[in-house]
Symmetry: C2
Amino acid sequence: MQERVASFGFELKGQSGSARLGLLTTPHGVVRTPAFMPVGTVGTVKALYFDQVKAAGADIVLANTYHLMLRPGAERVARLGGLHTFMRWDGPILTDSGGFQVMSLSKIREMSEEGVRFRSHIDGSRHMLTPERAVDIQCLLGSDIQMQLDQCIELPAERREVERAMELSLRWAERAKRVFETRAAPGQALFGIVQGGTDEELRQRSADALVGMDFPGYAVGGLAVGEGQELMLRTLDGVLPRLPTTKPRYLMGVGTPSDLIKSVQRGVDMFDCVLPTRNGRHGLAFTWNGKVNLRNAIHAEDTSPLDPQSSCPAARDYSRAYLHHLIRSGEFLGAMLLSWVNTAFYQELMAAMRVAIAEDRFDAWAEETLSKIE
Amino acid sequence: MQERVASFGFELKGQSGSARLGLLTTPHGVVRTPAFMPVGTVGTVKALYFDQVKAAGADIVLANTYHLMLRPGAERVARLGGLHTFMRWDGPILTDSGGFQVMSLSKIREMSEEGVRFRSHIDGSRHMLTPERAVDIQCLLGSDIQMQLDQCIELPAERREVERAMELSLRWAERAKRVFETRAAPGQALFGIVQGGTDEELRQRSADALVGMDFPGYAVGGLAVGEGQELMLRTLDGVLPRLPTTKPRYLMGVGTPSDLIKSVQRGVDMFDCVLPTRNGRHGLAFTWNGKVNLRNAIHAEDTSPLDPQSSCPAARDYSRAYLHHLIRSGEFLGAMLLSWVNTAFYQELMAAMRVAIAEDRFDAWAEETLSKIE
C-alpha cells in the first residue's frame, strides 16, 4: 500500500532523448510513468480480477464516465462509497469525460454550446452532458484524475469543422476548470485535452490555449481514430513541444505496442487502450516475439507456453494447444487467460521502457524491441 | 499433493442413517465422499481457474467425453499428454461416456445394437460411439473413472421403450467391461450405469444385472431429467438397497442443494451438475440462506457481501451492489465471481455433510439446513 497524499504532483525523474521517466502522485498513490492504464470500462477490467491487474504491475486504471453515468449511475456510485470502494481498486483512477463515447455509442445526440444531449445506448433514457456535469459526475465517482469534456469528431473532416470543435472544446475546458476548482476534493486533478485533428496549426493553437489555462496535466485526444500511425506521430511531434515539460502528457486511446514505444520516444507519459483486453478476448496474444493468433491451427498441438520467461502465469504455465482449444471453443477461460497475458505484457513493456529511460538507452532499446515485436 | 497410487479403492469411513462417509482412491489422489464434482465440460470449469476449483475444496472434476472427442479430439488430447496435463488439473478426473450428450446435443443420430452414429453439433462431422470406442476415448483422455456407454432416453416414455434401452445398456455394460479390462491403465475404474426410468422393477433388474458383473462403482443415470425430486428420490429408494455397500454410488447430473442433501441421506456418494456454474453465469447465487438472484433491483445499493462468513473471497469481499451491476452489465467478472461463489458453496455443502455424517447427526443437520436453504 502506498501512502495516501492529498495533493497531485508530477516529478520528472529522468530523460533519454525525449522519452521521460516520471512519478505521478495522486490521492490514491503513485504512478510510475510512462504508464499504461488498463481500461475498466464499467468498473471492471474485462475478464480479469483487479488483483491480477495490480500484480501485473498496473499502478492506475481508467474507467469510463459515459458507461458509469448510465449504469449504475454516478449518484449511485457515490452513495455506494465512490468508484474505488465500489469496484475494489484502491489505486489511482483516471476517468474520461464521456465525450468520446457519446459520439461512438449513442446514436441519438444533439450538440450545442451548452453541451451534448443524448440518449442512452442501453435503455434509450435521455441525458445531458455539459462540461460542468462531466466534472460533477467525475467528482461523484471520486476519480483521482478527471478529463474535461471535449468534442470529438470523426476524421476526416473539413478543417472548418475541426476548428469549430477544437474551439468549442477550449471554451468547455475553461468551464470545466472553473467548476472543478469549486467542487473537487483535495489532490484530485483535471486535465485539459488538446484537439485539432491532424492539423498542426489547430493543434498548436489548442495546446497553447490550454497551457495558458494552466492545467496540472494535458491529454492529446482525437488521435488513433483511423488516421494511421505516421500521421498520429507527426501530430504528436507538433503538439508535445508546446506542452510544459513539468506536466504529464497523456495520449488518449492509444494503442499498439509500437504506438506506445514511438509515442514514449516523443515524450508521452500516459496511455490507455482496450486493445490488450479486447484482443485477448479474440484470441490474439501480445508477446516479446510479436503477436500470436491463437485461433490458428498451427497451435493445436503445440505444448509450449506463450512465453516461458513471462512474469504472468497465463503466459508461462499454459500450453498454446490448450489456449487454442479454449479460444476455438469460445470458453470464458480463454478470454480470461489471454486478457491476462496481454495486460501483463503491456505492463512489462512499460516497465522495460522505464528501465531503458533510466539507463538512458531508450532509442537503442526501442529499435531493438520494435524489430522483435513488429 | 496427494500420493499417486495405481489402484482404485473405496473405503467406508462412517455412516449416519443411510448417509455414508467414504474415501475414494484413484491414481490421481483421494476423493472425500460424499463428493460433488464440478463440471469441466470441454476441459475447463466455466469461468474459473482450476486453482479456484481446488481451493474451493473439490477433490475431483468431471469432463465430458462427447465434447472432448469432437474438440480437440481424444487422440489429440492423448498426444498432448492426456487430459490432466492438457487442462492442468492433477487431481482425479471422471469422464462420462458421451451417451447422454449425443442425445441432448446431436440433432442427427442413429441408434443400433452396435452403438450410436451421430453428427457433431459443432461442424456436422460424422462420428460413431460404441461401448468399445467410449472406453477407448476415455483411455486416451486418461480419466481416473470412466463411465460405460448407456442409452439415455427422454422421459416420459413407454415402459417397453424404457425396458429396451435399459437392456441395451446392460449389453453395452458387458461389452464396455470386456474391452476396459484389456485396455485401461492400472488403477483406472469403469462404473456401470443403472437405467430403467422411474420404473422400480426395471431399475432393480438393471441394478441386479450390473452388480452381477461386479463393477468397482455404480452410477444411477437417467434421473433429474424433469421427473421431479419426489419421483427421483423414490427411484433412488428402490435402487440403492440393491447396490453393494462396499462400492461408491454416483447419481449423475444431480442437482440442487436440496437434491444433494436428500440423496446423500439415502446413501449416494458422488454427484456432478452444471447448476453451480450455469446459475452463476445467470446471476443466481447459492448461499447458506438460500438462493439469491443478483439481477433483482433490491441488490442495487446493497453494500453487504453475499456471505461474510464464506471461505470464498467472491462471496465475502464483493458487495451485492457490485455483483448486481456486473450481472446487469453482462460483464465477464460477474460470471467469474458468481461461478466461484457457487462452486465454493457446493463444496462447503459437501464438507458440512461429511462432518454431519462423521458426527452421526446427518438427519438433524439435513432438516435444519433444508429449512434454511429451501
